[in-house]
Symmetry: C2
Subunit: 305 residues, 2 copies
């Protein structure tokens, strides 16, 4: 089953202690789509300026990503400049130029309106609502956001949250949104806002899935070389939703497997700048790392009393 | 099989955002012994002053902890005063009064010299070496330390590390000791110092076990109420070594189970001040939480290709 993703396509400049990536391909929808494309067909809705390099279009097409929803407008593409210290868990934003993204109003092409899998990547929650109004009855909706929307449009955001199956945010955002320091309390509060499930991303510490009545804890893959964490969260979400759409199995077992596939994709993505690692990634490597995750987390159950 | 633990017995005063514990029972050997006592017999070697309350002696005895190695000297017991902010992962030390602990020289009673399981809790690495010289041939040696010894006596500490089966430290200490920011590189460097296995504690994010050729990642139990993280690391180590000594199974499977039991014990301990939660803890609760850990981390393996 194909996925529809709505989000940003950007040109990033990133500095980490290990090097610099100048004017590289970025954006939440880009990372998400590329990651998901290893599992299923992806339809991308977004906007770029007339400066957007053809090589990036060619790359996305080479991943079989349908770009009929990618609008090109005169002006410059969204640009983000950021920096990471040795603590790679948090980026410092040096500059954001929204450019054509400033006036972006997502138009969902008619042929996408029946999508079964929808990801609302990090954009203005008003626009996320507009997207929801343009699709008929998706089977699975996932949604991301950021601190900026939590503080500026909490009520609109809560409307979005009440409509989604998977709300995917990081630890700090979960605390900010709920006003709770304790993560279990924060999760309970956010589920109380109507999200069916909540996935909390914790960077190098992995992710937690909170459902109505269970918790699943997945570690991150301990890597010796982390070059650039940019897009790790979107790559995670792409692998997660891609796997769900591929299998159609949205039981708790299926969801947990999808979380591991998401973690696998994120673990590859941070091994190089931008999404360069995904350019050479083979499916056999994904499979192998899934098995490593299994080996890394397995322990024996107690015998029943 | 019984365990020998050498470490501190203290009187703590602790402040957290959730309350205050004044002059409560503390110390690494105390937490360790109490936790291990749920799984096996424990022999404690340490020192207290003549002010040490009889009720604490009575409590330790009620846990079947053998106190023939607990020296009582005239003077005051080791006192520690600390404070936690909402980030419960790190304590701020307000005051340390070593008192009788200052001149502590561990004497291992002859009847303990054949111990098979030995834990060197956080004390001066010179003293840890003295303990090692007084025991014959332990099957399993575990060792903890702290930032203070890493910076003041790194060479002596490395001698200790080269002799232990499980070196158990926290994330920051692993980075400090190895000089590596990346945790996988840090672990490799520390294994290179001769520790057979390394356990890295990450507070609310769980623990990582590094062996020569594998990694095991265990989450912490997500708790809604964390009152006082003091002693969580020692309680973890107590459950870990206690379970190993109980089963005698030091295969990787056994070690992984022991790590989960350690995590279970730590998760209970932080639910109340000092080690008060362990005063009422029942073995059936430990068993039940182990099963929760299993449920919380389980996901399906891929079918073989």
């Amino acid at each position: 089953m194909s996925i529809l993703v709505v989000g940003s396509v950007a040109i990033d400049s990133v500095e980490t202690p290990f090097g610099v990536g100048e004017n590289v391909l970025g954006g939440s929808a880009t990372y998400f789509s590329t990651s998901a494309s290893f599992f299923t067909d992806v339809n991308l809705v977004g906007i770029v300026g007339d400066d957007f390099p053809q090589e990036h279009i060619d790359f996305l097409k080479s991943r079989n990503i349908d770009l009929r929803g990618l609008v090109r407008e005169s002006g410059k593409t969204f640009q983000w400049k950021g920096k990471y210290g040795f603590d790679l868990n948090e980026a410092q934003t040096l500059d954001t130029q929204l450019n054509v993204f400033q006036t972006f109003r997502p138009r969902i092409p008619a042929e996408y309106a029946d999508t079964e899998y929808l990801i609302l990547a990090n954009i203005d929650p008003e626009l996320q609502l507009e997207v929801l109004a343009q699709v008929r009855n998706p089977r699975v909706i996932a949604c991301d956001t950021m601190n900026f929307w939590i503080s500026s449009k909490p009520e609109v955001l809560k409307k979005v949250i009440s409509k989604v199956d998977f709300f995917i945010i990081n630890e700090g955002e979960a605390r900010q949104l709920s006003g709770e320091v304790n993560l279990v309390k924060a999760a309970r509060a956010i589920l109380g806002m109507g999200a069916k499930n909540l996935i909390i991303k914790r960077g190098e510490y992995g992710v937690l899935l909170f459902t109505k009545d269970s918790i699943f804890a997945a570690p991150a893959y301990p890597l010796e070389k982390v070059f650039d964490p940019t897009g790790a969260g979107d790559t995670f979400a792409g692998g997660f939703m891609g796997y769900l759409a591929n299998t159609g199995n949205v039981s708790e077992d299926g969801i947990r497997q999808a979380i591991i596939f998401g973690s696998v994709m994120a673990s590859f993505n941070v091994e190089d700048f931008s999404l360069d690692r995904l350019r050479t990634l083979q499916y056999s490597e994904i499979d192998e790392r899934y098995r490593s995750f299994k080996a890394m987390t397995h322990f024996e159950a107690l015998q029943p009393n």
